[in-house]
């Protein structure tokens, strides 16, 4: 008879060895990210007034549901409380993802590949694997917690003391452990690692949503969510310890439950049988277009919702926009205004102008984000080819053009959908949150956006987006192994869009390599004191023409070359 936990120590060592590089990367990135942003926040919000302004922006249901509450110390906000309010949730989500990966990698995924069988034939206890995985997670989370805490304390930010910083690290690690334990349970329940992934991410999403619902409604609901509970430690404000103990207790209890389930099942089996899929295909799948649509469907839905939500969250801050940024020189340069200009305007023009500039800025940001799914879709056939799945379709009576078109059409169509999502989200949220007289001290302005103009401003970017999609099609058709070029060019465009506003920094020819440089700025409000720069449709037509040419060349190339094999 051997013990349930025999050999655990050796397994932990083995797991840590396998984890060392990935875990190190996670920890370094997360700690650097956490530590680097603290001083930045301090310079961005040096005094009470600027802090009040950012709080105003956050103080509406949409932002609170996205970010969670920001706590105060007797009505005062400090860099520390703002930092905790803005950062903790996102870092916790990242840590949760890290833990989900760790636990699944060492338990269910190994079992799936029958590596675990080999291990269990050694003198290893029944529960040793899951126990070792939990200990591995514990060690990694502890290291992360301590380094984060020490790092934050070391920034020397006045409002971020040692105790608070260590508590910040500790709740971060503890919430990570909760997800490690939840994942361990799902690894017992589900018979496949993908099933365990799905359930774990569902739990993660659910925790986020519960917290969101609780934060804008009944706070008790938030406490059910590990995220909501962790935030209630009110780091850098009250520094409550109870939530920390609560998280650790929950992690412990879930781990015990996972051990219980583990001892009740056979190796390679789960409690929930692998979900059965369709025995027969739906009619809609039965064409090469049907297949590409099916493969991209989930992405389409997720990105559509994400962009809408992002647009809405930008729109929801319109009401307070000028208080936040009105006089900040950084913002003015960002949107292309000067303080002198601002002084000559009436209040209502001022509001319009600021919103106009903000709208233009948001349009560029959202367009950049929206390009990600478009490029993924346009490059998908290349990945299908490299993974050997295109051959299965093209050896049937499907022409190369038809196959490629299945993805390219979706990418182009999606470009219109994403821009529409942004506009509807932005406009809708502004419409529903801006109440009369709320733009700064200015009276009687409702939603300053004009829908048609906002739509036109966003659609004006379509030719630039098409050009980038066209480049992707060109690459797929002619140089399928050089997909990185497309992402590199995308990175260049992002860089230019963010840096390009600084006058005389970069030579004109370099700026002109970005298609965004040719998109006319279109006013998104009724602001008309200064007419927008003379704009003509010619650049848009030229960009569209280049996009079309690249696409056509890509299609011809795709027809003429060997498929990638091996």
């Amino acid at each position: 008879m051997r013990g349930n936990f025999d050999y655990t120590g050796k397994l932990v060592k083995f797991m840590l060895r396998r984890e060392r590089i990935i875990a190190a990367i996670w920890i370094i990135v997360l700690v650097l990210f956490s530590v680097a942003l603290a001083p930045g926040l301090e310079t961005m919000f040096p005094d009470n007034e600027t802090r009040e302004n950012i709080i105003l922006i956050y103080d509406n249901p949409i932002m609170v549901s996205m970010m969670g509450p920001i706590f105060d110390i007797d009505g005062e906000f400090t860099t520390g409380t703002i930092y905790a309010g803005m950062m903790l949730l996102w870092v916790m989500i990242a840590v949760a993802i890290m833990n989900i990966f760790i636990v699944i990698r060492h338990t269910r995924a190994d079992e799936e590949r029958w590596r675990a069988e080999v291990i269990r034939s050694l003198p290893v206890g029944r529960l040793s694997t899951v126990h070792a995985a939990m200990l591995t997670a514990l060690i990694i989370n502890t290291v992360l917690a301590v380094l984060t805490g020490l790092g934050l304390a070391a920034t020397g930010t006045e409002s971020m003391g040692f105790g608070g910083s260590m508590l910040y690290g500790a709740v971060l690690g503890a919430s990570g452990l909760v997800f490690a334990a939840i994942t361990a349970i799902f690894c017992q329940l589900s018979a496949s690692s993908s099933g365990a992934f799905g359930l774990s991410f569902l739990a993660l999403g659910g925790s986020y949503m519960l917290r969101a619902a609780g934060d804008v409604g009944n706070e008790v609901i938030s406490l059910i969510s590990p995220f909501g509970l962790a935030q209630r430690s009110m780091v850098y404000a009250e520094n409550e310890l109870m939530p920390l103990w609560g998280l650790l207790a929950i992690a412990f209890a879930f781990a015990a439950l996972a051990y219980k389930f583990n001892s009740m099942r056979d190796l390679g089996q789960g409690f929930i049988p692998a979900r059965m899929g369709r025995r027969e295909a739906k009619k809609s799948l039965l064409s090469s277009f049907g297949l590409s649509f099916r493969l991209l469907k989930n992405s389409i839905i997720v990105w559509t919702i994400t962009l809408f939500m992002l647009g809405a969250s930008y729109g929801s801050i319109i009401g307070e926009i000028d208080r936040f940024v009105g006089d900040s020189p950084e913002y003015l340069t960002l949107v292309g205004l000067t303080p002198e200009l601002l002084d000559t305007l009436s209040d209502s023009d001022k509001a319009d102008m600021i919103v106009d500039g903000f709208g233009g800025f948001v349009t560029i940001m959202m367009t950049l984000i929206a390009l990600v799914p478009l490029l993924m879709f346009a490059l998908k056939p290349k990945n299908e080819e490299i993974d050997g799945r295109a051959e299965g379709i093209l050896s049937r009576s499907v022409s190369r053009q038809k196959y490629l078109a299945g993805y390219v059409i979706i990418a182009f169509a999606m470009s219109i959908i994403v821009q529409l999502c942004t506009v509807v989200g932005l406009y809708g949220a502004a419409e529903s949150t801006v109440r009369e007289g709320e733009i700064g001290e200015v009276a009687a302005i409702l939603n300053p956006f004009v829908f048609e103009k906002l739509l036109a401003a966003n659609f004006a970017y379509l030719p630039a987006m098409w050009l980038i999609i066209g480049l992707a099609v060109f690459i797929v058709g002619l140089l399928p192994k050089a997909g990185g070029v497309v992402w590199g060019y995308y990175g260049f465009i992002c860089f230019m869009a963010l840096i390009g506003n600084i006058p005389d920094l970069l030579p004109a020819w370099l700026s002109n390599l970005s298609p965004f440089n040719f998109i006319p700025e279109i006013r998104v409000t009724n602001f008309d004191l200064f007419p927008a720069a003379e704009s003509s449709a010619v650049p848009l037509i030229v960009l569209t023409g280049i996009a079309a040419a690249l696409t056509v060349i890509g299609f011809i190339g795709y027809r003429k070359r060997d498929l990638i094999t091996h």
Binding site: S192, L285, E391, L394
Partner: protein, 245 residues
């Protein structure tokens, strides 16, 4: 007219010559075995026939049409099982079978069900959970459920257990009896022996011999008249022959 005809086919990958002046014909109603060691060029030949790769020189015709230019037309009458079956993790085996069949013609439900039962495939499972053998079964069922004129099978049994291998042989014999043509690349001598009317041997990109299996064995017989009794032995002898040349 030949079902497929390859004349002086050369295929180069950069400087590397994968196929060197290959000549091959498959007649109507014939099961043609295509054998040769790893890396000899079997899969490359098949990919040229399917218009997945373009010939560097020479011609490859199927049903009298050009394999590259008329690929779509040709594929309407071909069923193909690749050696390495890659499927979509999120689709079920049943969905993939329907997809594969329908990209050529209307599916025959009764045939499909019979084959799924025979090969003991659970069509409700997602492809990511399938073993190599099960993925191969998906491709085989899709091929046998199609009503094609030419079946191109690239090492179709490499992941199957012996019983399934037996079912496979049965199905190919069915095809043969109904007058279909088959190009079968294989490493398994017993399979080739039972199924193939003629065999082509390819080595290092050169088809060095075609003929019935008996003819091949005869031509590879030792001085003492002993015939090779396994694929390995046959290969070994041809190696020596090709080395000698």
């Amino acid at each position: 007219m030949y079902m497929l005809e390859i004349e002086n086919l050369t295929k180069k990958f950069g400087k590397f010559t994968a196929l060197n002046n290959v000549n091959l014909q498959v007649e109507e109603g014939e099961v043609f075995g295509y054998v040769g060691p790893n890396g000899a060029g079997k899969t490359t030949t098949i990919r040229v026939l399917l218009g997945i790769l373009q010939a560097t020189s020479g011609t490859a015709n199927v049903f009298g049409k050009d394999a590259w230019k008329d690929a779509v037309e040709i594929h309407k009458r071909i069923a193909y099982v690749p050696g390495d079956v890659n499927l979509w993790a999120n689709l079920t085996g049943g969905e993939v079978i329907d997809l594969f069949v329908s990209l050529r013609q209307k599916s025959d439900k009764a045939k499909r069900e019979r084959l799924i039962e025979k090969f003991e495939l659970d069509p409700t499972k997602k492809c990511r959970t399938y073993s190599k053998g099960n993925r191969q079964k998906v491709a085989l069922i899709a091929a046998f459920a199609s009503d094609a004129d030419l079946y191109i099978l690239d090492e179709p049994t490499s992941g199957l257990d012996p019983l399934m291998g037996e079912f496979f042989v049965e199905e190919v014999l069915n095809l043969k009896n109904s007058g279909k043509s088959v190009l079968l690349s294989s490493h398994i001598l017993s399979e080739v022996e039972r199924l193939c009317d003629r065999v082509g041997v390819i080595m290092k990109g050169n088809v060095i011999k075609t003929g019935t299996l008996d003819e091949l064995k005869q031509s590879a017989a030792c001085a003492d008249g002993k015939l090779p009794d396994s694929m390995e032995e046959l290969f070994m002898r041809y190696y020596k022959v090709s080395e000698g040349v």
